[in-house]
């Protein structure tokens, strides 16, 4: 038996209640197998189909929760599309993004000369941020963003307007497909510090159950899908 640490006592109490032993090979085997298998449970069928179906469903689900979506043919078109979005909404021509290679490489100067572009984590004064989505999930119109220098988490929450650039090939059907991609990128059992699953702009129903947007996080969430 291990020394009587708070952890050991805590777990021993669980075992006494469950009337089990921590050494039971059948139990240990069942747990190890489940942790290793990554076996999906029942997955809803609504996202089954080809890429066109997934993208259509993603846009439907996203717009149903007040996410706006633009589509551009190539990455080179992104800066102009963003500048145009900001103009349409009477927003300042200034934004912040992280060190993400795709976002940094965009032809900001050429495509949107009037845009002031800053790099780094969000500052409380920033009104607009741009991040590169790790994936978009069709089943609920959910964006997946991973923390780190490329796309700091503050970009997703501090500014009033959050713009996410999403490559069409990264629109997957289900959450399970995201976990597979995360394991491929970060390793088995490893996770980025923060994974944000974002489905629409911030909202609250805490005053008489009336839904109001922009409670604490962004008031506007805009997605630019890049691809054919």
């Amino acid at each position: 038996m291990s020394a009587s640490t708070p952890k050991a006592e805590f777990i021993a109490r669980l075992r006494r209640s469950l009337k089990v032993s921590g050494e039971d090979e059948t139990r240990k085997g069942a747990v190890a197998a489940r942790l290793a298998a990554h076996a999906p449970n029942l997955v809803p069928r609504r996202a089954e189909g080809d890429a066109a179906h997934r993208e259509k469903l993603f846009i439907e689900q996203a717009t149903a929760v007040q996410t706006s979506v633009d589509k551009v043919k190539s990455a080179a078109d992104v800066p102009a599309a963003i500048a145009d979005y900001l103009r349409r909404h009477n927003l300042p021509q200034a934004l912040r993004h992280g060190a993400d290679p795709l976002i940094k490489k965009l032809p900001w100067k050429k495509g949107a000369p009037s845009l002031e572009v800053k790099e780094g984590r969000a500052d409380p004064a920033d009104e607009v941020s741009v991040a590169h989505g790790f994936a978009g999930v069709a089943e609920t119109g959910t964006l997946i963003l991973c923390s780190g220098p490329d796309n700091p988490t503050t970009l997703n929450f501090l500014p009033e307007t959050h713009i996410v650039v999403l490559e069409a090939g990264d629109v997957v059907g289900t959450y399970e497909e995201v976990w597979t991609r995360l394991r491929e990128k970060f390793g088995e059992g490893q996770m980025p510090r923060t994974v944000n699953m974002i489905t629409g702009p911030s909202r609250t129903g805490d005053i008489e159950q009336t839904i109001e947007l922009g409670a604490h996080g962004p008031k506007r969430l805009h997605v630019v899908i890049v691809g054919k």
């Binding site: 942790l35 700091p152 609250t204």
Partner: protein, 471 residues
Amino acid sequence: MDTTSPRFPANVREAFSDQQLQRALSKVPHGFIKKRADARDRLPEFDQLRDQARDIKNHTLAHLDLYLEHYVDKVEAAGGRVHFCTSADEARATIIDLCKGLDASTVTKGKTMIGEEIDINEALEAAGITPVETDLGEYIIQLRHERPSHIIAPAVHVNKDQVEADFRRVHSHLPPDRVLEEASSLVNEARQVLREKYLAADVGITGANFLIAETGTSIIVTNEGNGDLTQTLPKAHIVLATIEKLVPTLEDVSTILRVLARSATGQEFSSYTTLSTGPRRSGDPDGPGEYHVVILDNGRSRMLDTPFQHMLRCIRCGACLNHCPVYQAIGGHAYGWVYPGPMGSVLTPSLIGIDKAGHLPNASTFCGRCEEVCPMRIPLPSMMRHWRERQFERHLTPQTVRWGLGVWGFFARRPPLYRLLTGIGARALKTMAGKRGRLNSVPMAGGWTKHRDLPAPAGKTFMAQWKARGR
């Protein structure tokens, strides 16, 4: 938290006569119930997902010791620390120590019901640390010095004009002639006031909807984004979670997430589902420098391997509250402790004792809607029955009820006598009711007929009719 559950009948009378409360409660059923039903109808697999969600939690609870060990190893490998607390006292002391170690003067908080359970705000204040609730509903009730009256809509008992009055009282630095009538202007004002608090906070405390054993990850599910600002901006993030939040894998949590938001608010998915694993990493430009998980038992391990273990599957969606005719009539405060509604009526006796919470499992019509809508298929009515039986066994049931049950039991064990008496009763009541078919007073049932008429029996008992039809 101190309980007023023992004085439940008095709480109920107060709730009935509270006009503001009744006005607020009248808005509860329509929104939540319809939105959930619509979300269910949009997802053909919904009921199968509920079965699987139930099975996942049953498996996890049966192997809780092993999943917890794996979870702890993964948190530590990611640079986080796990603190094991048996009681509310230990959890409070641990959190205060952590905050003092960080020289904290302000703590922002995401919504946590466990925080209510252990009275963390009072403990922080006593230690000279200012807790700031950031969920809008929690913020409103903090200003009002109240407790949550709903597990996902804590200020559901408060009306808009009351919020306006509270904001004018507390935000006295803002111009008194500002317009605050619309919900949107109230939300905006809270956003501005709380933005300063996030930026100034030293520590952020959140609850957890789930802990994932596979990766050592904690999950919070919110709509406002307040939990994310709370945990991202300060020096340290403290997660407050109880043992039953564990799930094995990312695949398993996906299944439960698919039924959570749909059952709670009728959303396909909440705005923000956030997975956190450890503190800020090298190269990260933001995120908390420290990541602590306070794992609390507080009486839950005693529920394992008992008829009440089902309750540990609860994911706190609030569907049973929204659909409960008793909750709809009295609101959450009358229940007298942290957890109201059907889930509270089952959980509270486990955590504070049936001697104190005995009224709660009796405050049910047994209509069964709670079990019908529970995403985790928790048999709430049958567990309320279990509690009533334990009450009876421990002689906690009032003398008149025990006497009444004794008399009924005497006759029920003597079927010919029972049939004779119920036959006489049925005929007598029918005669008394006359043509109206209803009785507005019945001897020894004045408490019942004071508020409504008793529909008269058909004149013959069910047994007699059954026999007459030759079945």
